[in-house]
């Protein structure tokens, strides 16, 4: 082996090592962040913390209202966003050959990249201003708008995976197209569609920026959709930027709860879909 070849081989080995280091650096950062959240958060999580509402500094307090608020916001966003997102996905996959469908695809892709804070400003303009006050509804609309393009694109991808022969078989038996889609194609793709929906819910459950001036946040339990409502993320933000160590500890504990929820969805979806793809 001559010197030039040795250099080339050495070069190749060095670059392999460098790329491996890049990867392990990223995984290391993930591990450090997650470990730190558990370490700082675990001490403050107990039953009382999970069901109580926030209290003044020095009196403890919990995130019960924020957990409930996040669940209400997610439900609201899902009720608005899932049907629209799934219907758009069905349109794209079943009738998506034309130029309009390409426009929709392009708009959906681009919309997923629009900063969530801008979506918040838009929700403020169309919901908060006409209603004249902050509300859970406005927060739900903002989250739904973030959700729709994600759900639409994953639904389209999942429905495309359904074999064409299944459609042809149903059509050959005399079923009209709408029954083929609703009765055969969507059930066949349902686990994929549910996966996409779950990932979209995980994504919006971590959103803070679009809630700051729509749902606003609240220190109390609220069950009314036309009133401001607390959420885990806004609560974490408010605790984090406060000057009190005690509230910082609450922020870490709330973060642990939020991350547990998000990681459970992500890893659960991963395990459920592993055998299929």
């Amino acid at each position: 082996m001559n010197r030039a070849d040795r250099t080339r081989r050495l070069n190749s080995a060095v670059m392999t090592t460098v790329t491996a280091l890049c990867t392990f650096f990223a995984v290391g950062v993930l591990a450090i962040i997650l470990a730190y959240i558990v370490w700082r958060g675990i001490g403050a999580v107990n039953l009382r913390f999970l069901i109580d509402s926030p209290r003044p500094v020095g009196e403890g307090g919990g995130i019960g209202n924020a957990i409930l608020g996040t669940l209400i916001l997610l439900l609201l966003a899902s009720v608005i966003g899932l049907p629209l997102g799934i219907a758009t996905g069905v349109y794209l996959s079943e009738f998506g050959g034309g130029r309009f469908a390409n426009v929709v695809r392009f708009v959906a892709d681009t919309m997923t990249g629009i900063p969530s804070i801008v979506v918040g400003v838009f929700a403020y303009a169309i919901v908060v201003l006409p209603m004249r006050h902050f509300s859970a509804l406005a927060g739900g609309v903002a989250l739904a708008l973030i959700m729709i393009p994600i759900v639409a694109r994953t639904t389209e991808e999942m429905i495309k995976l359904v074999p064409q022969t299944l459609r042809e078989g149903a059509l050959a038996l005399g079923a009209p197209q709408w029954r083929v889609t609703l009765g055969i194609v969507i059930p066949a793709a349902s686990s994929g569609i549910v996966t996409g929906a779950m990932l979209a819910i995980a994504r919006i459950s971590g959103e803070t920026a679009p809630l700051l001036f729509t749902a606003l946040g609240s220190r109390f339990f609220n069950y009314y959709l036309d009133q401001p409502i607390a959420s885990l993320t806004v609560q974490i933000y408010n605790y984090a930027i406060s000057p009190y160590d005690e509230w910082h500890a609450l922020a870490w504990a709330a973060t642990l709860v939020l991350m547990t929820m998000i990681l459970a969805i992500n890893i659960g979806v991963r395990i459920l879909t592993r055998k299929r793809f």
Partner: protein, 333 residues
């Protein structure tokens, strides 16, 4: 092709409902027509929403647009009390923090994607790829919390002093070291966009036909030389991935807001506090009591919307140019 007619015995007189059905839908099936119309309106709504966004943002920022015109983009003073609003400090902070983020995360993301697609064995690539993607699942506010209490102190003690010592002759690395400022904002953004860029680059590299690799290997290329051939093939897609990351960095809000210091100033020093468009909106929107103040903040949102829309559109077109080519890869060139 009408399937409904086949089921109807030809001897029977069509009922009024059936006559209505043929009237509404020429194919003879009302259900199909209604179904398509419903799905179509959902898709149409998505397009309308984006249009409505432009209209709503533009109309709500009209007051500020009329007051300041294009000067809004070049004015440096942001003084709510005096009613003076200029976006330049925010534009500067947004652009510089995003640039720092890309400077760090582009090589890192390329390394990750190359390792996972070209070098790691399959049983390793899948779980590790999933872990890298999990970085994208961490909410922005959690990055912010971690940034305040872990990253900022770390950079203040271990990274910024050496930078000031060895590169202090550059104006970039002068000034007080606090750990809160443009530099920390850029670093946290880098961590946040890395999973996004690397995921798209992975897709792009996977889309490069394996015949390219086989050809390079057959000519006696080393693993790295082969990788360079693959990178060359995926270049437009990689550019798209980077631009996609840029779009994300430009609009990222909470994490940056929590570590950048939130002071509307333009300073060459990366250690100084700064402010981004997104964090200005997040911080000041609920405080804006005067109409002009609110309108200026909405105009910031409009600018952010237009810029990220263009950036994302460009990125999608670039990425699509590579992955679509791969879809037809079986065809002879």
């Amino acid at each position: 092709m009408s399937t409904a007619e086949l089921q109807t015995p030809s001897a029977r007189v069509p009922s009024p409902l059936e006559r209505l059905r043929t009237l509404v839908s020429p194919t003879g099936n009302t259900g199909d027509a209604m179904f398509k119309a419903t799905m179509f309106s959902a898709a149409l709504l998505l397009v309308i929403v984006v249009g409505a966004m432009v209209v709503a943002l533009a109309s709500d920022s009209m007051l500020s647009i009329k007051q300041f015109g294009f000067g809004f983009l070049t004015r440096r003073d942001w003084n709510p009390i005096a009613g003076q609003f200029g976006a330049l400090p925010f534009i500067y902070g947004t652009v510089v923090s995003s640039f720092i983020a890309l400077l760090i995360s582009v090589p890192l993301s390329l390394g990750i994607a190359i390792f996972l697609v070209e070098q790691a064995p399959y049983y390793l690539a899948r779980p590790i790829g999933f872990l890298v993607e999990l970085l994208a699942a961490i909410p922005s506010v959690v990055y912010g919390l971690w940034g305040i209490f872990v990253l900022a102190p770390f950079l203040r003690v271990y990274v910024e002093p050496p930078l000031a010592k060895y590169l202090g002759w550059l104006p970039l690395f002068q000034g007080p070291i606090t750990g809160i400022g443009l530099f920390t904002g850029g670093v946290i953004l880098a961590i946040m966009v890395t999973p996004i860029i690397s995921a798209v680059v992975r897709d792009v590299l996977t889309a490069v036909p394996s015949s390219q690799r086989e050809a390079a290997l057959a000519l006696g290329a080393t693993k790295w030389e082969t990788t360079r051939v693959v990178l060359g093939n995926g270049l437009p897609g990689i550019a798209g991935a980077i631009i996609l990351g840029l779009g994300r960095a430009l609009g990222e809000t909470m994490a940056v807001t929590m570590v950048i210091g939130n002071r509307p100033q333009i300073s060459l020093s990366l250690f100084e506090p700064s402010y981004t468009i997104a964090s200005a909106i997040a911080n000041e929107f609920t405080e804006a009591t005067q109409d002009l103040y609110l309108s200026s903040l909405v105009e910031l949102g409009l600018i952010l919307f237009l810029v990220t829309f263009l950036v994302n559109a460009a990125a999608r077109l670039l990425v699509r140019s590579v992955t679509r080519r791969a879809a037809g890869a079986g065809a002879p060139v």
